[in-house]
Symmetry: C2
Subunit: 446 residues, 2 copies
């Protein structure tokens, strides 16, 4: 599949390669070479004998695949994992999450939370994540330091929060951050208007203009619940998706997150405009928000990616678990076992996420010339035996703990399950300290 190169940085010999492109293909006894941060060769192992490499890895029981792309989350909230469960969206936010955030969110909180989130994501196979939270500057610096790829969606609200005063302030801070990282290979700063019910239409129109000028993605919570849609119809006389369309905010750069309440006309509008949908099944189930009609969207050609949402509403940041849930949920929701088969689910968690972020020329599949964002998944344990088809194992069995190695831009960030750039002992101690502080504040208020 490529001319044999000269000496390379890394040469990997797995049992299987799951390249994602071409769709549904599994290559057995193929090898992957990495050079200068990119995939320099994908070829039969029998033809790889002449390649010299600084490091050679034999992974005889593993599948090599593109790193997973987590298209929606709030990394800093990892410190609120399990803080409140089994409550609907609004009471959960108003009685638990917002008070805790109000008391504690700071640069330090966001940095520690995001590092905890990144540790979990790398250990479960994610190599790119989208983030929307306060102090994105802290997360940008952190990702640069840890070698993690991120789409940083700077948050925009109409009202003050810990990070800004009003929409103009958020936008100006966000664009300055975008400018700071314009030469970064890892950090991509994009617009993150929180939702149509927290950003007024005038500001949404302003964001539409700016995003078009900069050709920058826009990431927004949309149609998360039927209640949200009904309230918008009451207030504006139209569904939120229609408002976005009218305001010029719906196009191929738009990432619509959640989308549980969708009619045929909504799906047609998404297909027509080329907007992407980010499906977050575990969060939508846990908060009882509803079910995104993934199969209907895919049937109309809409690009559907996958996200975990935050650890406060999931409670994990594990795209392998999310893939399993997405596939099972689609089947039972449609009462059709052929819905969302394994290969399609795997595409959602990789190339579709890359496409939503506009990064599909670089990531989302194992192809010669692409950036080397790659993971190795060990299928030799009893849980994943026997292997008739590795795609089945990857979607229906693997839970993240089988991810042994991970490379981001060719740099190894996970080696034999060990994080190469994060000190877990120190990180756990910081997480425990936050738990004590946050619990103490809550107890004092009661």
């Amino acid at each position: 599949m490529s001319a044999t190169p000269g000496r390379v940085d890394t040469l990997i010999h797995p049992r299987w390669v799951v390249p994602v492109i071409p769709h549904g293909v599994v290559l057995e006894h193929y090898s992957v070479a990495v050079s200068g941060g990119r995939i320099s060769a994908l070829l039969p192992r029998a033809d790889a004998g002449g390649i010299e490499a600084d490091e050679v890895l034999e992974l005889p029981g593993s599948a090599l695949m593109p790193g997973l792309v987590n298209c929606h989350g709030h990394a800093g909230m990892a410190l609120l994992r399990g803080y409140a469960d089994d409550e609907p969206l609004m009471p959960w936010l108003e009685n638990h999450i917002w008070p805790a955030e109000g008391a504690h969110v700071s640069e330090e909180f966001v940095g520690d939370g995001a590092e905890l989130a990144i540790a979990e994501m790398i250990r479960s196979g994610t190599t790119t994540f989208s983030d929307m939270y306060f102090f994105p500057n802290v997360v940008a610096a952190l990702c640069q330091r840890l070698g993690m790829r991120v789409q940083l969606t700077f948050p925009i609200f109409d009202f003050p929060t810990a990070w800004g005063q009003n929409a103009d302030d958020y936008i100006s801070k966000g664009l300055a951050l975008r400018d700071d990282y314009k030469h970064s290979d890892l950090v991509n700063v994009v617009f993150g208007p929180h939702a149509p019910y927290t950003v007024c239409q005038e500001n949404l129109a302003k964001i539409a203009t700016l995003a078009a000028e900069l050709d920058a993605p826009v990431h927004i919570h949309l149609h998360e619940t039927t209640g949200e849609v009904l309230a918008a119809v009451e207030e504006h006389g139209e569904r939120p998706l229609d408002s976005l369309y009218r305001l010029g905010l719906l196009g191929p750069r738009t990432q619509c997150v959640h989308m549980t309440d969708l009619g045929d006309q909504d799906i047609a509008l998404l297909a027509q405009t080329g907007a992407s949908v980010v499906h977050c099944p575990q969060s939508n189930m846990k908060l009882a928000s509803g079910t995104c009609p993934v199969s209907a969207l895919l049937a109309r050609g809409v690009n559907v990616a996958l996200g975990t949402d935050s650890a406060a509403s999931n409670n994990e940041l594990n795209l392998f678990s999310e893939m399993q849930t997405a596939a099972l949920l689609a089947k039972v929701a449609n009462l059709d076992a052929t819905s969302l088969p394994a290969a399609e689910t795997l595409a959602m968690a990789t190339i579709n996420g890359a496409r939503a972020m506009g990064l599909d020329d670089d990531i989302g599949s194992i192809e010669t010339g692409k950036v080397a964002d790659i993971i190795a998944v060990d299928l030799s344990g009893p849980e994943t035996q026997p292997v008739y088809n590795p795609l089945s194992q990857l979607v229906y069995v693997v839970n993240g703990s089988q991810v042994t190695h991970s490379w981001i831009a060719g740099e190894m960030v996970l080696r034999d399950r060990e994080l190469t750039r994060i000190d877990l002992t120190d990180l756990s101690a910081r997480a425990a300290t936050w738990q004590q502080r946050i619990t103490a504040t809550r107890d004092a208020a009661q």
Copy 2:
């Protein structure tokens, strides 16, 4: 909670004990003592200083809880994990599973498949499983050898299979097996009529009489799909559950597996008769069979337990993953985030399973005097930090890979993630050989 005993076999000092009974309780800095296969003390660590033990385990980041009870499966089918996916129940059975079984099921197949299943189950926290498959004699001997607790439901059909000729033959073999193991502490042999559509009403009535005489549990696939219920109404003029009731087969010893198609009158009948329901959410979702109305059943006081079904239709035998799916599915199915909270889900996977099997005097909770079926779950990893409430982590985050230790009847079967009685290298080689044989047969037939 108990008088301090003298010298004990094992003394465990975890960070938390989740006893399941009392409901929802978490004990911090408690210790558990095990003697003669039973829990001899559960007491504050501060009071455990005087206890001498042959082995003392310090588990400062772990939660100790009762081993999980997997109430439905077909262990031997682990060799068909991922053999065919993304197909509805009947084509999946008729075109894939039954032909493969017809060609390969033997004592050797069942033994190797069940050992693979047991390895996976122990590593993911299960200490008791229910099994319904051919050659239960092989599984009985295997469980005795491996120290695994099993409810062995000997299969009954009207027609011949690899293990028997007709209902009388199955019953006579099954009762002989029950007799062989009547003194076993680990193996409990009970009736397993496959389903109302594979066992005629005359034979079901016979089983009802025998089960009542022996006070033995009856385990049966029931209302797995709406199609099954409609076909029964067509043939018998009544719903399968009503047939069972009329035939005297519905009572506190009955375990009704699947139950996706249930009306109010069905739920009332289950509540009235004291029958248990075994919920298998992942299998029901994957085969698009439907959704068991768990919350409505629990609200009426029906005992609902949890099962994985086989690795061929799930594709994992992991009750932690099943708990997460059960909780999330109930919330979105009811559009109510308060449905199936963490503590209730944990009860389903432990004490409710024990109750369904009639074993709740011995297992399903950590209480002084009960049999020591116990697991330790390490919550110190980044995925499970911070810990506000261990119940939340156990249901919404833990995926089985955090189970470090497991004791069955006080015997350690998992130590620091290593199986003490199973040679995984040898087992994996056998699984791979079966995969090659089964694939070769399939390819030859095509």
